[in-house]
């Protein structure tokens, strides 16, 4: 049933029916009730495409997820972030469109999105350090919020991010306090902005403690269990192996733990591990007692907040960009202990 049919059925004009259903004040209360009842009875829902053509608003938000041919992995945090965002969007009546876009096709893709006009705004995922998408989107005048930041971009834009620098700085300081000097960092892909910031936090903490960084102790790559495992193995084979590991995600930490076991080292006694924990639904850091000492910040919560920011921008397009920096909690688990002598 469409509006015209419903209007005929009610012996009213489409105008009145439309107004009644959209809460306009100039329709008599009795009429409104009659219309609403009929709409319910006939299971009428306005056609979304027609509605957005008429109003110019799509009530849809796009998530654009970069898909690199070389790194064919869709980062697991997307799932939780999108879930959080979807909760907000759902509550506000917005739909969520997902698009994967291949490396290099980004500019074209965003232009097309804008021209096709089927989203009111965009969430940008996985920013690189020098990320050209941000300027492009500013130019396109399409509201957007970035999950993360792009170090080299100077124009203002809206973002939601976790304080990667601070989290990794604190984690490193904590290890130093425990007496560790040979501290390894098993990081994400280094061209990703978050990884860059984490490394900076790590290096800063080392420097303030007067510890010279050792490049054999630093590894970057796709954040898989295998990445953690193989790099930890390599480092443990060094003449002076690290006594502590900082890892970029729980999955990587699991890989490091496996390496320790293979080398018959006891986690928290022989070697310490601190990881960042995105608090993903299906991969918690243990139950009540955390397995790993960790810096924790919920990505799902970030998704909720990011979505709210975007909805706000869509509603008030002239506002200046907003930023939101989340601080990670630091949780003590069983994976850290004093440095062995």
């Amino acid at each position: 049933m469409n509006l015209k049919e419903l209007a005929e059925h009610l012996n009213l004009s489409q105008t009145t029916v439309s107004r009644a259903l959209n809460g306009y004040p100039e329709v008599k209360e009795a009429t409104r009730l009659r219309v609403e009842a009929a709409a319910r009875a006939n299971n009428y829902t306005p056609n979304g495409r027609a509605k957005s053509l008429a109003t110019g608003r799509t009530m849809t938000v796009g998530h654009v997820i970069p898909l690199s041919k070389k790194h064919e992995m869709v980062n697991p945090v997307f799932g939780d972030f999108v879930t959080g965002a979807a909760e907000s969007f759902l509550a506000s009546g917005y739909d969520l469109m997902l698009s994967l876009v291949e490396d290099g096709k980004e500019e074209e893709h965003y232009r097309t999105i804008k021209a096709r006009g089927n989203v009111d705004g965009i969430i940008v995922h996985g920013p690189r350090m020098h990320d050209s998408r941000i300027e492009l989107l500013n130019e396109l005048e399409l509201p957007f919020v970035v999950h993360g930041r792009a170090t080299d971009v100077t124009t203002p834009y809206s973002w939601i991010d976790m304080n990667n620098f601070r989290a990794f700085c604190r984690a490193t300081e904590f290890l130093i306090t425990l007496g560790h000097k040979r501290i390894a960092l098993i990081n994400g892909l280094e061209f990703m902005d978050f990884a860059h910031r984490r490394k900076l936090g790590y290096l800063t903490a080392l420097e303030s403690a007067g510890i010279k960084p050792n490049h054999d102790y630093i590894a970057g790559g796709e954040m898989t269990e295998e990445h953690g495992y193989s790099n930890a193995m390599k480092m443990l084979d060094l003449p002076e192996p690290p006594t502590a590991f900082l890892t970029s995600s729980l999955v990587v930490a699991l890989g490091v733990r496996r390496a320790l076991q293979d080398r018959n080292l006891v986690m928290g006694r022989d070697v310490s591990i601190i990881t960042h924990d995105d608090d993903l639904g299906y991969l918690r850091n243990g139950g009540d007692v955390p397995i790993f000492t960790a810096t924790r910040s919920s990505v799902r919560e970030a998704g909720r907040l990011g979505a709210d920011m975007l909805l706000d921008m869509i509603a008030n397009p002239s506002d200046t960009p907003k930023q939101h920096l989340l601080e990670a909690d630091m949780i003590l688990g069983g994976s850290t202990g004093p440095a062995p002598i």
Copy 2:
């Protein structure tokens, strides 16, 4: 720039321009080239909403993901499945809409989706054993493909599924061959259809070998690391603890492994583990050498195939429903060995 402007700019009618761009044969080749060039030069892309209003096709497919209030987790396989599907949809010019829907609001949600008409088809996730959504969707005449099956549904429908029964039957048989008799199953939530089938496969294999199932050896729940850990701990404390574990996912297997370590048991020697492995991008079963013996089937591949099936249904709505059953590979890793005497 819209069609009207482009047409004026070219001194042609909208009709001709539209036809030229959509590859209709009745437009002179010279004109078509001229139009195409102008479209490119002016960065013209037809408005999606208008187009779908005019054609009646939305070029959009919906993924509907159940979100239970009790089990607030979005299963990690969604991420990989959706990624696979998105690859197919992308290639065919389809957009992908995501909606999370709360338990109990499903019927309403699907009806609304249909009425709003902003998708041409749907992928249904996470079917339960008795899943009312399938009949509803059949009734709504909205093309759909289910990822998984629903045991108690008799009306025909399209699905793509992994052979859960067979995979778990084989895995159990394999353990039996190795001499194990006390075999535990750490399963997913038992009202989920896949978990039900897995349990059936497990029980069938036990029965054919004349082994009486022990209910203390069977656990169901959300597939987290903690679920694997805590249930394994409980079972290892039994007077007659299992000598082998069958787990529903890699994450659960990691939990079981942690339990073994806590009990100072060596995996593959004292206790064996076989897991199902969805071959998720970020959580591989080790590198070249698998950690766990596993039944493996790529969820991402399932996503691609499921998407193709749905596109097919959209293109040929009168076709009878199609089914696609994937068989899991069985991969030997280091987590299994002969039963200890």
